[in-house]
Subunit: 202 residues, 2 copies
């Protein structure tokens, strides 16, 4: 590849391949450059350090899930409760798919993510931000009770931890996990859509 | 100590001390016997293997939390929603106290527990069983909506994972964690106490 054809995206693709093949401990910038047929100087021109390259590839990996979920968040056809349930299912499915289809890469990113709490915090903030938009829509449409969207979104995200935190990946293939997920999603939905028994009795 | 005075409880106390001092990798039955001033044969008369002794000491450690929570579960003075909230807070507090007051021992038991999934499953079943009793009380008193108690209890337990699973212990000292806990507990409580908006509108 000529240095001119070398884009950040091509470098990140190659980095992901290299990480998949060698694992996070052994993968080097030289491996990435070799896979692309360029000098390591060309790679460093786009990513100034190995740490910067690793951060970028991790962000890109997490961003795929964010983008996928954004399509649900941005869709305006359906009621908020239904959208919220679909979003939570899609998050669980996306994480489970990543963990199941390519366990080595999933573990590799687990290691990279473990070493960079800022990237994780930003990722979680983006996801909670999307949830918050859905909650706000529902509150405005009177489909949800009047909650503070950001706080309620965070509570729903926390309540579904078992179904998106990679630490639980080994449990995602167990029988019964889908029913457990549905029960927690139901509980959250009821918590957001329902009025206190006292009020309905009045 | 004479062999006659040696009870299982004394052995388990000593084992906990030895584990605290040497850690799970180094602690031996001989250390336990030495701490008690008896022969290791006397210890083996009560616990036939090192594995059996470790399992018993782990169960005892987990049982303390179960017993503490059973007092809330068994109390009959208060309404179920209040009891449920108190129970969830007490579980979070008990785990956090164990993690904070004696981090080495907490980590030690984390290692022992990691090697014995049956003990963990039984512990979780006991906790969910207690929660289930509270949910059932609330359903019978019409304080909760008519849910299947065991399933609803499991959903509440899963939804509060972040606040009792030892894997999250490092987050329990962060500022804001109490507010996050309260928000998730609120969401669960609303999910159990509230009727769907549709019904209340009818």
């Amino acid at each position: 590849m000529t240095p001119e054809a070398l884009t950040p995206e091509r470098i990140l693709e190659a980095t992901e391949d290299v990480l998949r093949r060698y694992g996070p401990a052994k993968a080097t910038v030289v491996d990435v450059a070799r896979a692309l047929g360029v000098s390591h100087g060309s790679v460093y021109r786009h990513f100034r350090t190995k740490a910067a390259l690793r951060e970028a590839v991790t962000e890109r990996w997490l961003q795929r899930t964010v983008d996928e979920l954004a399509e649900i968040t941005g869709g305006s056809q359906r009621p908020a409760p239904e959208k919220l349930r679909q979003w939570l299912s899609a998050l669980f499915e996306a994480k489970r798919r990543k963990a199941g289809a390519d366990p080595e890469l999933f573990e590799t990113f687990g290691v990279l993510i473990g070493g960079n709490s800022t990237v994780v915090e930003e990722h979680i903030a983006e996801l909670v931000g999307q949830l918050s938009e859905i909650v706000e829509e529902g509150v405005q449409a009177h489909e949800f009770v009047p909650v503070e969207p950001q706080g309620a979104a965070r509570a729903v995200f926390d309540a579904t931890t078992r179904f998106h935190d990679p630490a639980y990946a080994p449990e995602w293939s167990k029988p019964g996990i889908d029913a457990e997920f549905a029960a927690v999603a139901d509980l959250c939905l009821r918590g957001l859509t329902a009025r206190p028994a006292d009020e309905s009795a009045g």
